[in-house]
């Protein structure tokens, strides 16, 4: 935690804060290449990302050693590029994780790092910058800094607009974030437009019945719910539920088939998993629990819908190996089923589900 004096710095060299790019007054003692304007920023950066990448920054920010041959120079440059690319990915995943955990403040410096390295490697107007911008925007929305978020999103939109070969997936992500922004601003007209675009692009990229498309439907449903168009929202929520139900059931089928085929060969039990990454799992839980809450508050007349959501949640937790949660939801399902006297078919489905879970609990 050394202090530095701007006046003592050689002429023509500006030293900026890592977080806010103001004139710096402090330097990180560990790497001596990272500067800050005050303790607060240093603390924030350290907690977010600097602790993990402190030493990795040194080769990037000191001048290259003197190489004797052209070959060596090229090699050195290439290595530098590789290091930067690695840092880009690393910072991005760290920031993403923070966002899913709801720690928006911590996510900002990490995402900023990712953005800065991206600018270094790909140039200022590349599509590669878009994911970082989107993360920053998401974090800003989480921190209630709407103006900031809008700025980042405009940057992202501009980058996408200028590029000719931008993938559908990126388009979809951009529009989803724009939609979320306008939802926060309560400009539902625009939000609906962007979410519709999101669903369209996601459908182009993955198909209409993919779990990655379901997010757009869910947000759209929320808008209609806020606009008091309950029947519309209801059909959209049902759609989201159906998508997840189909995905989880298919996945379970595949898993159990693989298990039946291979159990003789290896004689060991398979791990169950959802086939999703961390982010998607977090999204699934968030979406399904909020649908459950909405269903419970509005659909007291139609227990089938509540039971349907609960069944999906049980399956999800079961595949995520979270048996206590699965059990909890399963008891809720069977309670409702007994209370409301559902049809034989529904009862049957629920019993099957309970059977699956219980065998899993006994086995380990």
């Amino acid at each position: 935690m050394n202090k530095i004096y701007q006046l003592a710095v050689p002429k023509g060299r500006r030293i900026c804060c890592e977080v806010c790019e103001a004139p710096a007054e402090r330097v990180c003692a560990a790497c001596t290449v990272t500067y800050y304007c005050d303790v607060a920023h240093q603390q924030a950066d350290w907690n977010s990302i600097h602790e993990k990448i402190c030493q990795l920054l040194i080769p990037l920010r000191t001048t290259m050693p003197f190489y004797n041959s052209e070959e060596e120079r090229q090699h050195g440059l290439q290595q530098l590029q590789q290091r930067q690319k690695h840092l880009i990915e690393f910072c991005y995943t760290v920031a993403q994780k923070y966002i899913f955990e709801g720690r928006y403040k911590d996510a900002v410096p990490a995402a900023l790092h990712s953005l800065r390295f991206r600018m270094n490697v790909y140039g200022l107007s590349s599509v590669e910058l878009v994911p970082a911008y989107l993360l920053l925007a998401e974090a800003s929305i989480g921190l209630d800094q709407i103006v900031q978020a809008e700025e980042y999103l405009s940057q992202a939109q501009w980058a996408v607009l200028k590029s000719t070969d931008c993938s559908y997936a990126t388009h979809s992500l951009l529009h989803r974030n724009l939609g979320l922004l306008f939802m926060v601003k309560e400009n539902y007209e625009e939000a609906r437009y962007h979410l519709a675009n999101d669903i369209y692009f996601a459908s182009c990229a993955y198909g209409t019945e993919d779990i990655r498309t379901s997010g757009g439907y869910f947000h759209l449903a929320n808008i209609f719910f806020d606009l008091m168009k309950f029947d519309l929202a209801d059909t959209l929520y049902t759609k989201v539920c159906e998508i997840w139900d189909k995905y989880l059931n298919n996945h379970y089928q595949v898993l159990s088939e693989a298990r039946v085929q291979q159990i003789d060969l290896l004689g060991k039990r398979f791990e169950t998993d959802t086939g999703l990454d961390e982010a998607q799992e977090a999204e699934a839980i968030r979406i399904l629990t909020s649908i459950l809450n909405i269903r419970e508050s509005t659909c007291s007349g139609a227990p089938q819908k509540i039971v349907f959501v609960l069944r999906i949640l049980v399956m999800l937790y079961y595949l995520m190996m979270n048996s206590s949660k699965a059990q909890e939801y399963a008891t809720r399902v069977s309670n409702i089923a007994q209370e409301k006297q559902l049809s034989a078919q529904e009862q049957n489905l629920i019993e099957q589900l309970l059977h699956i879970i219980n065998t899993e609990v006994i086995l380990p």
């Binding site: 437009y193 519709a196 369209y200 209409t208 439907y217 759209l220 168009k229 059909t235």
Partner: protein, 367 residues
């Protein structure tokens, strides 16, 4: 193809904007007409100079297809969107397949056919609204309208898709006593018949027939549905029996044709009844049961005389002559053939005259 009246559409914002830039849409009013007075100048400036709103930009930048999809989604018509999207994917796949098969024939991509997309938008969204309110008849009507719109040789598979959807919906409609269901069965029968799956077609036509029995329903052109069902059913039965006769499966073929003639009797349509007994007679002949064949054919000739239908009478005489010929009763066969020649000559049916004369010649030759 039935020509439908242009749609009384109120287009949503995005589509309306996109529509204006299409090459086929009428041009906006030229400058000289716009600027006449001061107010007009202001309006002109507003229209031309103001710059574009975000939505206008979107409408210009994106394809018409995308604009339609986005318009559907922003109003929450997600089922319509899913349906349209899958149809478009299939459309592209078929187009691709056609492109691979031949270099010359290219179906236009859907983006360049805004009228079709408009129809999709209009009817699908209305069907979805009706479905949400559980007005299944409206759903059926809208889907059926789409099926009619795509009733041309190129887009037959689209029509078939909507026939299937209609059928699914029609099963849910109970109020009208099954009229829609009967119609849907009829369409499904037609669909299978065109695909050559006669057994499935017969099944649907049978259901169609059963549902329309004793009802006075008429379709849009005023034809009785019951009669229509009988016609289609008889046609299918005949095709089925033809196939069986080819495979020498006589008993089955005869059983089906007996069923057909019973249906024809019930339908109270003399012509149909005659036809049915004609084909039954031919089947009996093929099976070698000459007496029954003669009975059937004489019924046919009686009916034809009653209807004063010389052509069918001629056919009846010819068939009777053939039966007699294979029975070995040449004298009677010759009398019938002579009657046939006379009839054919009176009606200037040269081909029939040739046919009859050849048969006569054959018989004399054998003597």
């Amino acid at each position: 193809m039935t020509t439908l009246p242009p749609l009384p559409m109120s287009r949503p914002k995005l589509t309306a904007l996109a529509r204006e830039k299409l090459p086929c849409s009428p041009r906006t009013t030229p400058r000289s007409e716009l600027i006449k007075e001061k107010d007009d100048i202001d309006r002109y400036l507003e229209v031309k100079i103001k710059g574009l709103s975000k939505e206008e930009v979107a409408a210009y930048r994106n394809t018409y297809k995308k604009n339609i999809c986005v318009d559907m989604l922003r109003d929450g018509y997600h089922k319509s969107f899913t349906e349209l999207f899958t149809l478009m994917e299939k459309w592209e796949a078929l187009r691709e397949a056609a492109r691979v098969r031949s270099v010359f024939w290219l179906q236009k991509p859907l983006e360049e056919q805004p009228d079709k997309l408009d129809h999709f938008y209009y009817y699908l969204t209305r069907a979805e609204v009706a479905e949400r309110k559980k007005y299944f008849e409206d759903v059926y009507d809208n889907l059926y309208a789409l099926a009619c719109y795509f009733n041309n040789s190129e887009d037959k598979w689209v029509r078939n898709h909507f026939y299937k959807r209609c059928f699914e919906i029609a099963e849910l409609i109970k109020i009208d006593g099954g009229k829609k269901e009967a119609e849907a069965h009829g369409h499904m029968g037609l669909l299978f018949e065109e695909e050559g799956k006669l057994l499935e077609a017969a099944e649907h036509y049978e259901a169609f027939h059963q549902l329309t029995q004793g009802r006075k329903w008429r379709d849009e052109t005023g034809r009785s549905l019951n009669l229509l069902s009988c016609e289609s059913l008889l046609r299918t039965y005949r095709l089925l029996s033809d196939k069986m006769l080819e495979n020498k499966d006589y008993t089955q073929a005869i059983r089906i044709l007996i069923k057909a003639s019973e249906i024809a009797k019930e339908a109270n349509d003399k012509k149909m009844e005659g036809e049915a007994s004609y084909y039954l007679g031919l089947a009996h002949l093929a099976a070698g049961e000459h007496d029954t064949a003669l009975e059937d054919l004489s019924t046919y000739s009686e009916i034809s005389t009653e209807l004063e239908d010389d052509l069918s009478l001629g056919r009846a005489y010819e068939a009777i002559a053939r039966v007699l010929q294979s029975q070995g009763e040449m004298v009677e066969a010759i009398t019938y053939l002579k009657k046939f020649v006379k009839l054919a000559r009176n009606n200037f049916q040269k081909l029939d005259v040739v046919k009859a004369s050849t048969m006569l010649g054959d018989i004399y030759n054998e003597k």
